[in-house]
Amino acid sequence: MGAFLALGLFQGAVYGLLAVGIVLVYKAKRVFNFAQGEFGGVAAFTAFAIVVGAGLPYWVGVVGGLAAAVLMGLVVERVIVRPLESSSRTIMLVALVGVALFTIAIIVLLGQPIPRVMPPLIAGGGVNILGAGILPQQLILMAVLAVLAGAMAWFFKTDLGLAVLASSQDTRAAQVVGISPVAVSRLVWGMAALLGGIAGLLYAPVGIFTPGFMTLTMLVPAFAAAVLGGMTSLPGAFIGGLAIGVVQNLGIYYLGQQLKVPGAAELGVFALLMLVLLIRPQGLLGKEA
């Protein structure tokens, strides 16, 4: 029981990290970014190719992976997002789903659908927390999540962050006072891709990773985390991520282990998502509209 709780918390940190990127894009562009997970996928596979494939130092892999993710973010912004700016949000969503599937297909084409093992940042055995073995990598992940959620919350208090919010509320009026919508769009997608890249780089060494590992299992819990947090709140994304991780693992413990319900983790997330949307659609820390 305690072990499930601890595992859930640290699993939730990954959801939180993805959710921070999702919230950033939603705050700035009112778009659900279904490609957020694949920024991490691209970063992880690039870093793997550099570190394991080419045998270069770890920091080169990290820099290369993050650069690849940011590059992908900027390309997606230029090729997909900006031309579709005026179309409906549903079309934009479908296009971003397309981007995610496209990226997975490219990774499979280049790298074959085989599982890989990425060396962790700090080698060594696990720490025992509530009877669960937590890897040093997961501790780093949690710390990075806390720092990034705080940093993003602070970002929206700075002049640059306020400019992004202003552009989101009224693009034309923001343009009049000199805030370029194109620059804002580039900045937001670049930052979101950087956040996604960090999530992918930190999560890949936790277990074995395969093409699409960030989208297929991580994306829906991460969205649930963002919705639980209120969709516009960065501390909310942090708390939401941890809460979803815990609920998922409690679901596995009570429904899966004790009642033998298949797919308990997904069921737990779905139930929580429905509960939030039906009872408190503005989430835990979200403001109205």
């Binding site: 969503l93 599937l101 490219i106 499979v108 779905f270 429905m274 949307l277 039906l278």
Partner: protein, 344 residues
């Protein structure tokens, strides 16, 4: 006066000639489409069944997304429920085929109505998220429920004697597709279709015009689920075995993308795009492995991801350059054939 009569006469002759030409072309195209069924043997009969099933799924998504403006990223839940219901009735209860298909349609409609009730409260992007999560839950929970679906081993769905042959089964699938097309046509050209268009464009305005928004939304979901369940039932008997892994969530995403590529609200476009994407995974590997020159990165595993890759490339091209999809590209042809383009 005389010239006027002559001109009138020529126009008449031209129009009569045009009509004859158009009818000939339509018949020729239909015959061309039927050719693989007649000459292609069992392989092509199987493929045509699959294409018809995909077309029904595409029309089902078209009802929801195209007509009612609602999005569903969890359509595999509706199709899968139908498939497992049909398989359950056929293998466990030994019910006749028609009964199984009816149960599949009802199961799909009920599941979709449940999701539709959620859609009354949750709209837009949030609805997309809920349907996605629901599809995942259905895939991992309901479809792995051992008593109902046989767990990981899957459920058998033997075909009854009347449609045990691949040709007879293909005709059955085409028949159901025809029925769904007819329903879609009647839906669009009656009051319900106009009401759905009003709901799609603006719910508040629709309700001030006296359109029962709640009722039409639920009806659109139920109708979409009905068609999806029916397609699922046909799929069960097509494959003769149903497994949870047939309904992964990438499948549902590809279905949505293929409907958009076909062109929302374009019946012909959706059917053509669905058929294309149904046949792609079956024909592409054969085609590629028969090429004289094989690029080194191509192998069995890659064949598996190429079709979704092509779907996505097409989707991005469609969204970027002609948002109406296949339907938009074909509209000059369809308008000429139906004679709407001419001045009368």
């Amino acid at each position: 006066m005389a010239t006027a009569t002559m001109v009138m006469g020529r126009i008449k002759v031209q129009r009569r000639f045009g009509l004859a030409l158009r009818v000939t072309i339509v018949i020729a195209l239909l015959a061309l489409a039927a050719l693989p069924l007649v000459l292609g043997g069992d392989v092509w009969a199987q493929r045509i069944s699959r294409a018809a099933i995909y077309a029904i799924i595409g029309l089902s998504i078209n009802t929801l997304t195209g007509h009612a403006g609602q999005i569903s990223l969890g359509h595999q839940a509706f199709v899968g429920i139908g498939a497992f219901a049909a398989a359950f009735l056929a293998s466990r209860l030994g019910a006749p085929l028609g009964f199984g298909l009816a149960a599949a349609a009802v199961a799909g409609a009920l599941t979709a109505a449940f999701v539709g009730m959620v859609a009354l409260r949750v709209t837009g992007l949030y609805l997309a998220l809920v349907t996605l999560a629901f599809g995942l839950t259905a895939e991992t929970t309901i479809f792995n429920w051992r008593e109902f679906t046989g767990g990981g081993a899957g459920a058998f769905a033997p075909r009854p004697a009347a449609v045990s042959g691949d040709h007879a089964f293909a005709l059955l699938c085409l028949g159901v597709l025809g029925l769904v097309l007819y329903i879609d046509w009647r839906l669009v050209s009656t009051k319900a279709g106009r009401a759905l268009a009003a709901v799609r464009n603006n719910e508040q305005i629709a309700s001030t015009l006296g359109v029962n928004v709640t009722g039409y939304k639920l009806a659109a979901f139920s109708l979409s689920g009905l068609a999806a369940g029916l397609a699922g039932g046909l799929f069960a008997h097509w494959n003769q075995i149903v497994q949870a892994m047939d309904f992964e969530f990438q499948v549902a995403l590809v279905w949505v993308l293929m409907t958009v590529v076909g062109g929302l609200r374009s019946r012909l476009g959706v059917v053509l795009a669905s058929a294309f994407f149904a046949l792609l995974p079956l024909t592409l590997p054969n085609f590629l492995s028969s090429l004289p020159w094989q690029p080194s990165f191509l192998n069995e595993a890659v064949y598996h991801v190429l079709p979704p890759f092509i779907v996505v490339v097409m989707l991005l091209i469609v969204l970027r350059f002609f948002p109406g999809g296949f339907g938009q590209l074909l509209s000059p042809v369809t308008r000429w054939i139906s004679g709407k383009g001419e001045k009368s």
